[in-house]
């Protein structure tokens, strides 16, 4: 009845969404919260002052990247994240992490782990706090200097995710060992020759200028090889077999997160490449170069983690990665 009452009062909407959103979604129809919170949010013109930190560009300036897009809002996030549903998703995942900690705690799983497993886990995972920190820096960079909210907003979330991972790793270290383990990890990161190739790569990403190349280097190439290697081959397969299930439980956020984000990363790269041959060429060059470098940088890490099986595992990860890239439509 009430709907009929309402109709007699003719409470009819004058429009279904904002005009600038309608233009992007093909007409005035109900738009999602993701669309309304994303499309057109970033100003594009009439900037009053040049940045004092980069007088050669406008405040928001698409020419900071070599990638050219007629409309930067083609870089859609398939997860449709805006702040609220992103933070709610992460909080839910965090509840699962807490539940895992409780479970591990209540069953005394950590004390049942051998010293060998514990040490091996710390040896590999603790330096990765710093890799995650760089991922945080780089995605914050893309958020700051990228073009259009469609790419910059999820990069902000992605930056925070990386920080979350750095903090999860820290928490893991503190749970299984004394705080000295963090220092030991940092010491390895700075001084152990087996981490230096990776550290060099990471430091090189920290000084990159093109935000889209950085996106490829960090989010696709490096993370695309590192996460499957570390949380797949090492934690889930290797350590679990040796009685390190607890490690897998306490780091369960990371592989789950990586799988989720990979869909977004792929969508971004695919949309860039689909726009033009020039973009596709750029993407191909970048992916090839950074994936090769990342693979080389991870080789000694794979050895720390998996010993003599390291190279084999890394090669497998690379094969899977190449298949992923092929699915995007790019041939390496």
């Amino acid at each position: 009845m009430s709907s009929i009452d309402l109709q007699t009062k003719e409470i009819k909407p004058a429009r279904n969404t904002f005009t600038h959103v309608a233009r992007h979604i093909g007409g005035d129809k109900p738009a999602s919260r993701y669309q309304e919170a994303t499309i057109g949010l970033q100003p594009t013109q009439n900037f009053h002052y040049r940045p004092t930190w980069d007088p050669a560009h406008e405040i928001f300036d698409a020419s900071r990247s070599a990638i050219k897009l007629a409309d930067w809002y083609v870089l859609k996030d398939p997860r449709q994240y805006y702040y609220a549903n992103w933070t709610i998703t992460r909080a839910r995942q965090h509840e699962a992490v807490e539940a895992n900690y409780s479970f591990v705690d209540s069953r005394g799983l950590l004390s049942r782990m051998t010293d060998e497993v514990r040490e091996s886990a710390c040896k590999v995972l603790m330096p990765l706090r710093h890799v995650a920190w760089a991922g945080n820096m780089n995605n914050t960079y893309i958020c700051a200097y990228g073009y259009g909210t469609a790419i910059t907003a999820p990069c902000n979330f992605h930056a925070m995710d990386h920080l979350g991972i750095a903090q999860y790793l820290t928490r893991f270290g503190l749970a299984v060992d004394d705080p000295g383990v963090l220092d030991a990890g940092k010491n390895d990161w700075l001084n152990d020759p087996r981490w230096q190739v990776l550290r060099r790569l990471v430091e090189d990403t920290l000084v990159m200028k093109d935000p889209m190349e950085m996106f490829v280097a960090q989010n696709l190439a490096l993370d695309g090889l590192l996460y499957p290697l570390i949380y797949g081959s090492f934690v889930d397969e290797h350590l679990t077999l040796k009685g390190g299930t607890a490690v897998a439980m306490l780091t369960s956020f990371m592989p789950e997160w990586h799988d989720e984000c990979a869909r977004w990363v792929d969508a971004v790269v695919k949309a860039c490449a689909a726009e033009s041959d020039e973009n596709k060429q750029l993407m191909t060059t970048w992916i090839q170069a950074w994936a090769d470098r990342a693979q080389a940088a991870l080789a000694p890490v794979a050895e720390i983690a998996l010993g003599e099986h390291g190279q084999e595992a890394l090669a497998e990860v690379r094969t899977t990665f190449n298949a992923r890239i092929a699915k995007i439509g790019i041939t390496l």
Binding site: H20, A37, N46, Y49, W53, M137, L163, L182, K186, L206
Partner: protein, 513 residues
């Protein structure tokens, strides 16, 4: 050491410390100056970054949990509001114009803060501060997005909200906001932290969000209120970061004091020059009043800022240079703003009106020193014109301040009679300012402010015509604002008629009986 001993839970401080600090390292394959290329040019000296800590000791696990809790509540309310046609439950359709202003001003502004903070959050070379800044950057995006979501349902039923991005970029009356945002975004990572966290958030943000949201609650806006309160709770953390950051910079090196003082002076004033719109929101645009702008200035600005600076004096920081002038304006600001917007009402993207008689009485009670003397006669005159079928409009293009880009509507501090004019010659060109403070800001960095694209001038450059009669209105129409439907007089507007047709405001009236 036996690693199987039961581990003791870390206390809040140690946990924060462990999770936040020491992630960064001194790079050696790339020089630190390249990793943090913007750390030095502003001349700020920091000797020990570990001295700065987030007073709220926020870590991401806690943050995700808290924020998701807030978001679940907020979006549950927004869903219910949309499902129940909440938009017709507000006190009066005039109120919706406050929502329009929130959407036109605060969503883009918060977005600008988000991106600017990302710039700082990448470039400040201390872990703890950078992390707090990242959290803040993320939350500014939250506020921008939730303002859009809270306004979304209103946009479906009311005018003046349908194309905000274009308006924000080009509408003449939003230029003060855009120039403020662009000024921030073009600043270095230290200045913009002081600007946002201290100048804007600490000194002035409460006076916007707290009393206005309380008023919004009073007017039945169940959509904007939880969004506003919820965002201000984030801002509380940003304010604490701002206060502690300023103290930190002052303590790190005495050479920082002069620079920080200059930034505090500048950004307090630039933020204050966004306040006219806020002041008129409270005094004119909210049909059911909670308190006046002047009262909220006293409660949320004057008292806490005096207390804060009594403390900061020990660090060598003085009250912002414009403090006296800003306090002296509290009797005038909202009235001068509404007077201007009413006059330029044909060239906005919201409606204006003359307050009703009871509202005029309320204004008189709240502003015994100024309202009757200076401002009521103008409103009475507008009412007369309207009654005679000739609504008053001021068609001329407004002269704007070179720095804040507000139209030159402000009188000398504490006075209602003389418009304040300040003029500077720079490289054979005249530049005009609304105040001593804007003039000083220009004098400190002329090469920045000569770039400003003043809207009135831009309109003349594009129209190229010598007749300026309808240029202001035409410039708004060019942005997709439908003249008369999106702007002009409220009474008899489509918003007004529809709201009445829908039986809007009935719940409120019944509730009062």
């Amino acid at each position: 050491m036996d690693k199987r001993v039961e581990k003791k839970k870390l206390d809040l401080g140690s946990r924060y410390q462990a999770l936040t600090q020491d992630l960064q390292w001194n790079t050696s394959y790339q020089p630190m100056e390249k990793v943090f290329p913007y750390a030095r040019y502003e001349g700020i000296r920091v000797h020990d970054w570990s001295q700065w800590q987030d007073p709220f000791k926020m870590t991401l696990d806690v943050w995700w949990r808290q924020q998701s809790d807030k978001e679940r509540r907020l979006y549950a309310v927004l869903d219910a509001f949309a499902q129940n046609n909440g938009q017709i439950g507000v006190s009066d359709a005039r109120y919706v114009n406050a929502v329009k202003l929130m959407l036109q001003v605060f969503s883009p502004l918060k977005y600008a803060l988000h991106r600017a903070l990302a710039h700082s959050a990448r470039n400040l070379p201390g872990d703890a501060l950078r992390i707090a800044t990242q959290i803040q950057a993320s939350e500014q995006l939250r506020h921008a997005q939730q303002t859009v979501h809270a306004a979304s349902v209103y946009n479906k039923y009311f005018n003046g909200m349908h194309e905000v991005p274009r308006w924000y970029e080009q509408a003449w009356y939003l230029a003060p906001v855009k120039s403020f945002a662009d000024d921030l975004a073009s600043a270095g990572p230290f200045e913009l932290m002081v600007a946002i966290s201290f100048g804007f958030e600490t000194l002035l943000s409460d006076t916007l969000f707290v009393p206005f949201m309380s008023a919004a609650a009073h007017n039945g806006d169940l959509s904007m209120v939880p969004a506003g309160f919820s965002s201000q709770s984030d801002t509380t953390r940003h304010k604490q970061a701002g206060i502690t950051l300023v103290k930190f910079l002052l303590q790190q090196d005495s050479l920082n004091i002069a620079t920080v003082q200059r930034w505090v002076d500048k950004w307090f004033w630039r933020s204050f020059r966004l306040m006219p719109m806020v002041a008129m929101l409270q005094d004119y645009m909210v049909p059911k009043r909670v308190g006046s702008w002047k009262e909220s200035w006293d409660t949320y600005v004057e008292a806490p800022v005096e207390a804060l600076f009594a403390e900061l004096a020990a660090y060598g920081l003085k009250k912002p240079a414009g403090w006296q002038a800003a306090c002296a304006a509290k009797d005038h600001l909202s009235h001068q703003a509404w007077n201007a917007f009413y006059g330029y009402g044909h060239a906005l993207a919201f409606h204006t009106w003359v307050p009703g008689n009871d509202e005029l009485e309320w204004l008189d009670r709240k502003y015994p020193n100024s309202f009757d003397r200076w401002y009521r006669p103008r409103l009475s005159y507008y009412a007369q014109c309207e009654a005679a079928g000739k609504r008053f409009h001021h068609h001329a293009l407004p002269m704007q301040c070179q720095v804040c880009q507000q139209p030159m509507i402000f009188t000398e501090p504490g006075d209602g009679r003389w418009i304040a004019y300040r003029e500077t010659q720079h490289e054979d060109e005249s530049f005009h300012f609304c105040s001593d403070q804007c003039q000083t800001i220009f004098a400190n960095e002329p090469d920045k402010y000569v770039q400003a694209q003043l809207a009135s001038h831009a309109i003349l450059q594009t129209s190229g015509s010598e007749t300026t009669e309808n240029a202001l209105q035409a410039s708004i129409a060019d942005l997709g604002v439908v003249i008369g439907r999106d702007n002009g007089e409220f009474h008899g507007s489509e918003d007004d008629t529809n709201f009445t047709l829908w039986g809007g405001g009935q719940d409120m009236k019944e509730a009062q009986l």
